[in-house]
Point group: C2
């Protein structure tokens, strides 16, 4: 069945939806059959990005792939337990439909601790956790000592992933590959960056993830949202009012994104 890739981080604004969209399009460009599940039925950033893409394609009669996205509606039931059961049903229905049709299903989680996010984490083969270069973001993974920078203990989101791994081990004995990906990295702030990296290296061993350099802060990762495009599409959309003037930074961005895709270690593309 499909490889399930979950974008997860209960810290808001770490870059889950942005990374989800860019991985989706990069994996599609490799020839994989991809689809998406959006667990944030209120913000719907990923669904909106793909709706914008469909509209752009229609308005410009251009032929570009638009992966299918299932938005999982949150339950409105008045009993918390009944609501959780209803949401589980909805997620599993979407998953069982897509698993047989795709090579990779990309699941975007909301920036908070929700029932749907927890269920999806337990279904993941790979969890990708984007993270700002910031001790504020790191606080969701671990408590850090302010003088020695030593790790004092795991925090909520690390515990949430641990729970998900426990569920998978019990359910089907399979492992979850957890990747922490730095995002919105700037070329400045060497000291703060070095400190964050040191903590991440220690935390990776202790909590069981691998971490990758990820994506720099680049306007190209967000300025195409309204058109539903990504830098992966830019060759095909030349002359459609999408500026080509960022070429140097685009090449760097392409390589950056390519390195993230390679770091996923997905099974080779089906023939």
């Amino acid at each position: 069945g499909a490889h399930i890739l979950v974008l997860g981080n209960e810290k808001g604004g770490s870059g889950k939806s942005t990374t989800a969209m860019h991985l989706l399009m990069a994996l599609a460009a490799q020839g994989r059959r991809v689809a998406a599940i959006d667990l944030d039925s209120r913000q719907r950033s990923l669904s909106r990005y793909l709706e914008n893409r469909s509209r752009f394609i229609a308005d410009n009669s251009v032929s570009l792939e638009v992966p299918v996205v299932h938005t999982i509606a949150r339950s409105e039931l008045n009993s918390v337990d009944a609501a959780k059961a209803e949401e589980k049903e909805r997620l599993m229905a979407a998953l069982s439909e897509l698993r047989s049709l795709c090579d990779v299903v990309v699941i975007d989680s909301p920036g908070s601790d929700t029932n749907l996010a927890r269920l999806a984490h337990a279904q993941a083969d790979t969890i990708v956790t984007p993270l700002n270069d910031s001790f504020v973001d790191l606080d969701l993974l671990a408590r850090v000592n302010s003088t020695s920078y030593e790790i004092e203990g795991p925090s909520h989101y690390a515990e949430m992933v641990w729970e998900a791994r426990k569920h998978r081990a019990i359910a089907d004995r399979s492992q979850i590959d957890w990747i922490v990906m730095r995002n919105r990295v700037s070329s400045l702030n060497a000291r703060n960056k070095a400190r964050v990296e040191k903590v991440l290296a220690a935390l990776a061993k202790r909590v069981g993830f691998r971490f990758i350099p990820g994506l720099n802060e680049r306007v190209i990762y967000r300025e195409l949202f309204l058109k539903g495009l990504t830098l992966v599409d830019l060759k095909k959309t030349a002359g459609l009012g999408v500026s080509q003037s960022l070429t140097m930074s685009q090449v760097a961005a392409r390589n950056e994104l390519r390195r993230v895709v390679e770091a996923l270690n997905l099974p080779p593309v089906a023939e």
Copy 2:
């Protein structure tokens, strides 16, 4: 009673907790009696920032103000309606205690649409909404046309503030001052910035907020989190292992923060 200042934006990671902490300390430095309410009982970024501050003060025997913070626990009740009632009780209890003791109560909301966030918005005299220079963030305020950049309609968060204003008008006929504050602004990306600004200017008129330049992306706004300090404290903490080597950027940051405080148009400081 106290002026109620709510940091609100259901978009995650827009900078609510960072802005809450810096406004809290800047207002305290003006001689105002301040306190905080943290509505995010899971992430608790603001509460954690203040806990780190208390620990730093204790470990270094330095005398710095630590404003009181009430973290409002989310309800665990199994009925959604009963949970909402319990949360309302908790928030109103914290507010009534602090209103009589303070000049300003700063309330930090979570990055999602929650019952507590909605209740707090309806109690606000001022709502400050930080916003990244990004159409992804803007999508929570309004739907924007991808070719004309015209506003097609309000989105979830604009509607949420509208609801809060309606409640206040009915309850006590008072107005809510809504300020949208750009955050994490970079000096690059002139074209994307100009487009976002144009949409914000049009949206401000239509949806009823005023927008201010806000805060640039600066590592000083996040690298002091573990010590619980802000740039407002730096004179007092010289020689306590807190580097003074960012002086030029610090001066610019101080002025930036001061302009935000002035833009709040709060009543003059009590004698």
